[in-house]
Symmetry: D4
Subunit: 235 residues, 8 copies
């Protein structure tokens, strides 16, 4: 085996133990396609490598969440967002507003909230303010303006980011969700809406990818004010 | 040839001379795929069959518009909407609000406006009030409420109908346009947005189909107040 | 929490309690992606806000329908259309013809019928008159002409609206259904057929969206004869 | 070079000179992607190999049609269907009804008509009887019933084959055309409609493939009445 | 209710009792989307209307097949093809060769075979002769040439019809199947292959539509030798 | 006309003159679908409304660029990026690294660079460091780490953002380009790659949307260090 | 039945018993769409025909694997790769490097490994070296260079083959996997990435097709050094 | 600028001057999206860096081919394949059979042939042996068996690789072409056919990518017989 200090070879996996040094955050366990045993093994190994930083696992099936609950009692497991967090999260710095268009978007909001915690940003959650009742989002404009970055989560027509994008110059990350039916095509409709937003500067992540949006937003929110040089190790 | 009173066989075409009796409106000449000569021949034949009602032609290429201009000087030709109207339009009854999200949607707005005229409805045009500056559409809410039906034309993210649909209970027809690029896929993005509108009751027509939206809206706007029975001939 | 008179903040949801004032109809509970508990909570809260108007819930899973049956015995639950109606529906005005191409389209017809009731329009249901036996639809032309609006529900080839659209000038809303297999692609084939209807004025809603078609049609059918001004509140 | 009696190697092409023996009809020159010179060379070589049977070329660009006109004056060139026919066609046997939904489908009808001639079947052409005026196709039912096979050509909603298929048990081949715009997607809408026809027994060919439909229909129409054994050579 | 001699109104369905008179074959019960009770009711009603002709039901779920087995013991139920046949099929005339590319295509072959029986044509079944071992299909060329029509069933690459189409001039109907994975996209790959066949005259039906291919082929095979006039009733 | 201080009604357009107050940046002229005259009129009107801030126009056709050159000689026109900039850009603050995978991505890089200027961020351009020679991007890692945000532009396989995303924790915006052919589908391949990036936190914009990526990145780079409160006007 | 020495007719299947003679390898049993009984019957018959060569079965459902385990105890069954191998595999010659981007790609890696064994090539497995930690693949470059062919397995963004393709001139076969969610569309994203690889010479197989990639790679790796002439029988 | 010995920074491009050392072949100039001047500059710079090895340019527009002809008279320009070759190609070793299904595939064959020359493999070209006349490919089986690798080029149904793949165990690379119309979707149909080939071991490249197929095949054909170790530099 050729494991070294910058990676850990488990045979079935090669953990990137150098990632925190390069990017500021440790590797995350992506639960899909892994057995419950593999999830626990990866979580355990990464936690051992990062004693001072929480390790996040996402997209956990029910059996993986159950095994974590019994094998790693220190982990915080969220059944709605299907995440687990093992270890102490960083002290949050900055704030990300996390806005959803409908209450059915809850699982994606939960995944994003757990990720913000793991990546060290604070969050302000505003649920169910879709554009069919546009006064609801207009009413929370002050809370949006107070944030360092905004994550907008929407399914069906995916129109909310375009409206939010016209109300503020804060960087916005839009997350299309698979909420809908028929010609929503599992979230494609919302994804295309967001990619074609008439409000400038809306960036988009994969369907239901609350995780990715939160990573991007957290890195904006927690940016040090003194310049970019010290953020990560330059080898 | 088996032409009869309810159809006119031109060999290359079988005109539906009975359509006005069945549906209240004569057949329209669809210009795409027809030579300029065919367009003029169809317009002439239909006009002869409907001496008291304007005949509309849509999707006219430049050569067809030019030939109409010289061969049928009485026709009103619109180069923006690519339409021609030959004969006297009906006296308008009712009003359709025709709202666009961006100024690039102008050709579709023009096609819809000409169609409203041909199908006997009045129109109120409101241009370029897309949701990236949502105060623009909120400011015209009174004009929307005064209409009998609303046609909303939008490309790119196609989000405007969802906002309009939350402001009023007037029947709305949404027209996606091919304005946009990349992942707008020639209007598919806007089409899907509108089909998935979170505002209830938004009905949709084909991409760039200002004609079809206007026909639907005109038939709502001009409905007689005394009941449905007398509207069309029951054979 | 920032709830006000025009919205009700439940934490996980922000109910649009102002919608009836703006659009003439209260918010509807969209059941997909909600737990049974959430559906019942939303229904209960909206009913409390609209004591004189029925609240509709759609796309209810079996467990939600069951919980409504036990927790809200006054609700009328329809297992075919997967709807529930809580409270007194308005007195119907006008008539919508609800026409289906095949008997397998029944769930969409049922959702549309419940929605017409909730939105205050009468309905005339005509089942299974698809174009492979075109005499069936020709035989009911009188019933179609007597309606104020027509909803046509069809899967597979989705051809029925084009035939109906040639028989009458009444406004038509077409609903593609997911009935079919293979290259029907879950209703895409019927959707595209309807968007490309050669009969002018056919407007379309999302696949299996009996609800949306009925809202659009009900708003046509129930329109007051004396003008548009009084329909909704102008703030 | 390894040319033999069953193929002719031109270097850039390997003509299938055995095809008439195997299938009853010689190879056809597919014009797309060939230079005008290549088209003329292939036509000439195939005609030399089949002195008693007409050779067909399809999808000819303007320059190829022009060169054929000057280099092979005996050829019959059709600019609408973009075909050329060199040599004597077989005596027609049987009849194929060739029905179009709209006058814009003319190029596909013309290609099919030339192919029927080349493959030895008679034709009965009925233009522009789309379902928006369904009385037009009902009026020609007798002519449809008199045919041995029916080719139905339609763009936009592609609904005509479903209606024709309910009127007769004659074998039907449906040809979707690229007539339409927006969500017709260059004929995909009509193609899907036809593949999902609610009338049983409708078979479909590629978009704008009047050639293929006519080959299939001609082989039905011209079938000998005495059994299948003698139709083609069994080596 | 407006039932007449040419249709039978069951409330939830309008049976086309005139179809046999118009097309030569009675209506078929399409099982998808119907309850087991509805399937049995439709079968019973159609059988009562056509005492001398078998009624076919297709796409039957397990519960429907079971209920038919107990409620209609005279019916012949095929679990592989998911069909039922109630009543005496016509005496077969002509022969259809039914060729499959792989043994996994068996359900589609079975549906086609039952349909050929119900529609009065003989069948010759040749299984698993896909082009990866092209000698297999070359070896059965005589059996193909003896048929009046050929149905070719293939999934994955869908290449078999192109090879068969080069071996014979007999009319070919190709059936793409959903056999495959990944980029077969549930049969789309095979469908597109067949629509683009380089062998002329291949007509195609929907994915897994063994029924439709068999109807088309049976109507070719059983055609009377004395002309088309007597085939169906001209009203 | 109902123009007010927060919008300017030109009849064919409703300029959003309030946008800078709400979002920190004035409206941009989107050139597609506008005539050259309309582009110049919109540029002129917006410049008059924002005397101290440059106005950007994008996606300018050749005739629009030419007319701007003659009618507005103060404008800076870039034929590669198809942009124009009229007025003084803000003093740049912060730095955005603008990285391309191939030299054919130049037009998108140019559009992004002009936008960064207009939106007040500095830029560091690194061209043609695609992953087929991965040492090229590894060699510039220091320049990437020095940036406040990174825009990665790539066509074809779109793989570069995933590699960059593993080298740094700086916020990354990925721009898929339409560079490629065949199964690149005009940039869809690269778009999907980026949406599925295995490096966390990559956000994506529309195909060829250098403008949108630059707006998002500029807003990150220029963020004030003292908190979010003062960034935009709260009305 | 017309079975001969080059094929074996089982009625429901026509085994290609000549394939090893033509291509060097016997037919493989494709398990999808076959019953467990059919899988065992095909395995048994092929093994009887090839007493000196292992027979492979792929895509085996759980019941088929179980029946093989009990009925054919000599078979080696792999539940991860869903394969079975019956008989003695050839002595391996040459080496194929089998590289995966993530640990969730394990089933495809396992199917490929079993296939390499069955087709007579050695394998070198390197797991979980995706490009988000590009140092992992750079660290194993020597192992890649030592191989005769490389199979690269990746889901999500599918970017790994482009990086590997820039590190070596060894022939590469890329396998997209269905690992991912949302806009990965079941592996389409990775498939398109690989088809558009900016590294020259990357060839691609179907999504999750570890089998096909391994066959291609094994045939490269095991090629005799003395020329191509003796590899397979020329009849 | 940070150019070094392993890359050459031209400002608008970063040439990978180390590629030949890593992969055995120098970088190729991809002409699409480059100006004629850029193509000539890149060709010149790469040729200067590789004095003993020919440099290839592909996908050259007419103006680029013309400028190369005048500015670099030593280059060999092919207008059919749209390639240029500057410098001495390697002595060919091994043979690649280059097989096309139709004569319209000629441009892709020409691009592949030029690439085989540039990458040091011999070629054996066999044109127009598509499966509609399957005897044509059976007749050349000996020539296929004599090759070290086979490139099969086909448009429309893309069926040829499946037949070739059943005739030989030689590694096959399939190239789908954009030849076809309608539902060929610019080569998607052929691409899907090839990805789903029922013959094992067929690997596929992008639509019209004769270049990529030839690189893969050349690397197979020219492999040294004494092991893999010496093929490329291990740094």
């Amino acid at each position: 085996m050729d494991s070294t200090q910058d990676r850990l070879d488990l045979g079935w996996a090669t953990l990137d133990t150098d990632r925190a040094a390069r990017t500021g955050d440790p590797e995350v366990v992506f639960g899909e396609g892994k057995t419950a045993d593999q999830v626990v093994a990866a979580l355990t190994a990464l936690a051992a490598n990062h004693p001072d930083r929480a390790i996040l696992a996402t997209r956990l099936a029910a059996d993986a969440r159950q095994l974590i609950g019994s094998a790693l009692p220190a982990a915080v497991v969220d059944p709605v967002g299907r995440t687990a967090l093992l270890g102490s999260p960083p002290k949050p710095s900055g704030t990300v507003a996390l806005v959803s268009a409908g209450s059915s978007d809850a699982p994606v909001v939960a995944e994003a909230a757990a990720t913000l915690t793991a990546f060290g940003a604070g969050s302000e959650i505003i649920n169910d303010v879709g554009v069919a009742g546009v006064h609801r989002v207009l009413a929370v404009r002050d809370r949006l303006l107070a944030a360092d970055a905004i994550v907008v989560v929407a399914g069906m027509d995916g129109a909310l980011p375009s409206v939010v994008g016209g109300l503020t110059g804060t960087p916005i990350v839009a997350v299309p969700t698979s909420v809908g039916y028929g010609a929503s095509f599992g979230g494609i409709a919302a994804l295309l809406t967001m990619l074609n937003s008439c409000a400038p500067g809306v960036a988009v992540v994969n369907i239901d990818n609350g995780f990715g949006a939160a990573v991007h937003a957290a890195r904006i929110a927690r940016r040090p004010t003194g310049g970019a040089e010290d953020r990560t190790r330059v080898p």
